[in-house]
Symmetry: C2
Subunit: 127 residues, 2 copies
């Protein structure tokens, strides 16, 4: 389980581009990536798991700045576990709120679709 991956491999495994992977490293979302003797990045399974978690945060709408905070806490080690937990709990609440909002609006859109269906049948009966 001590696999090492090139940037290209990580790109195809995660769906991020190599550009984005380097960019995330530059802004501090990904840290301490090893290099081989020619200076190429070597990602570990550990890095990969972290990147996949970052993607979850992104997909659920966490802003980069907050991801950065989380990443910084993570680097500081075990003393920041509570802080990290709190940050995630806050985000979790945001996500639940977002789901609720989407559900409400999805419902309204459904109603509009039903309304159009009614109009459609009315049209047909007229012609």
């Amino acid at each position: 389980m001590k696999n090492l991956f090139s940037i290209q491999q990580v790109a195809s495994m995660t769906g991020l581009s190599t550009h984005t992977l380097r960019y995330y490293e530059k802004i501090g979302l990904i840290k301490n990536v090893q290099r081989d003797q020619t200076g190429y990045r070597q990602y570990t399974d550990f890095d990969l798991a972290w990147i996949q978690f970052l993607i979850r945060l992104r997909v659920t709408g966490m802003p980069m700045l907050k991801m950065k905070q989380f990443s910084d806490l993570r680097q500081k080690g075990d003393s920041t576990i509570t802080a990290r937990k709190e940050l995630l709990k806050e985000h979790y609440k945001d996500v639940l709120g977002k789901i609720e909002e989407l559900e409400l609006n999805a419902h309204r859109i459904e109603e509009k679709i039903a309304h159009y269906k009614k109009l459609e049948t009315a049209e047909k009966q007229h012609s």
Copy 2:
């Protein structure tokens, strides 16, 4: 029920800025807004309802270009009802997909929080 509203009133009723309202009109999301004798916009209840629907579409992640398509169809009248319905149905499916994705990821985040809680108690027992 033939209320007329100034741009400022519509802004405070919808939460959009006056800038955004003019911008939406410029790019064709809002059409045919009446003007008074001095050239000021006068929004009707009908306009207001449309703006609120636009906001739903936006909140649920519909891109502007698609909102524009929808707005264009709407302007063409009753013959586009089926097309509008289809567009909304497609968007509705997208929204349900997004909700599912959020739920999946929310669950993973929940697991991570639980994991941190475990680590926390472990820490306390050591010290």
